[in-house]
Amino acid sequence: MIKKGLFVLSLLLVFSLLVSACVSPEPPKDNSLPAQESSFTEEVSVEEPKPDIGKEGFSLKDIPAFSDKPYVAVNDNTPYFTENEIVADPYEFYSELDSLGRCGVTIACIGKELMPTEDRGNIGQVKPTGWHTVKYDCVDGKYLYNRCHLIGYQLTGENANVNNLVTGTRYMNVTGMLPFENMVADYVKETGNHVMYRVTPIFDGDDLLCRGVLMEAYSVEDEGEGICFNVFVYNAQPNIEIDYATGESRLNESDSEVSRTEQTNTYVLNTNSKKFHNPDCSSVSKISENNKQVFEGTREELIEDGYSPCGICKP
């Protein structure tokens, strides 16, 4: 179907966002959408992305500090889509990375046409900005950070698209974002309708780790009756302190029972056989260049991605 390579469509979307960039509408009183005007002040440009410019009506300063809830409603749960942004033809758009290598706004008209028919592939080779392979016992699955799809795999089937992956805490990924993705995916499957869906990583200044993601969704055919939300999901993890400038983290000093481990190594992958090897393994030279890939990370991470250790070098 229509994939990210549709450059013309991308330009049209960029143009649309730019055209609608400078208008400040009255905030809607209900979940109906403003006509013609946009509350989007974010300029999305292929040449010069500016992903950290806030939206009219949205400011990181208005978001309460993270406490015990994974997300908070924004704009009374009314998304910022304008009428002319809402279409029923499926498409997807992912901003180019900015000068710091960070993701920008992603937007799609989700339909069955875009949904994957295969299991998710390996994404372990992607290292989004702020990435650290770090484990804490207090985190579900140990790993603090996930490669977090902005538009979830179950919605558009994007695997290792670097423009769609940010460094996100396990808590943001699973507890925060996934329930919204589930709701949209199941609605689309059940009704055959389409859902306008936009996920914007929100960075503060030159931070490498986003403070959270703004998730907006609106069901097209029934005009928001089935799906309508606008939420900010925190990129946070209970009991962990995070330096958003770098992605460095540490255990909250009040919780001394949890230990931290970080074991990063270099491995050589055979993407065909799904084996991983030590770099000096005799089998490495026999791997076709097309199937060979260098990976920096942990053993557990590779196993989680479906790889198994070589029986010769036993990495």
Partner: protein, 132 residues
């Protein structure tokens, strides 16, 4: 009276005044097990009528034979006249800002039947029947 509800893994029911999910196989099952008409609140009217389930809007008090489908409110107020609760579990986590307002076991309900089936948009839906 019997109450029918749909819940996610966290006993959630609604988010932003919208049902968390829907599945035509659940509606079919409700319709298939109905003796008379289904009693509903206005919130559910469009959904139920789309499945051609005979229904009436809740008004006044319920009778012993009432089957009440509840989506947009708690069920605690109906417990004094309720002896059976049917729960359809989505086996998924969705966002929720309104959840079930009781703990079934604490209200004396015991599970008497569990059936799993595949929905049209859900891999596995679990139907649980509680009675007291």
């Amino acid at each position: 009276m019997e109450i029918i509800i749909c819940l996610d893994d966290n006993n959630g029911m609604l988010f932003n005044n919208r049902r968390q999910s829907r599945d035509s196989k659940v509606l079919w099952d409700i319709k298939n097990n109905l003796q008379n008409s289904l009693t509903i609140f206005p919130f559910s009217e469009k959904l139920v009528s789309s499945a051609e389930i005979p229904y009436e809007i809740m008004s006044g008090s319920a009778s012993e034979n009432t089957v009440l489908f509840v989506e947009d409110r708690g069920i605690k107020e109906f417990l004094p006249v309720t002896n059976k609760i049917t729960v359809y579990r989505w086996n998924r986590v969705y966002p929720a800002d309104m959840s079930l307002d009781i703990v079934l076991s604490a209200e004396g309900f015991q599970i008497t039947q569990t059936v799993d089936f595949e929905g049209t948009s859900h891999e596995k839906i679990t139907k649980e029947v509680y009675e007291r």
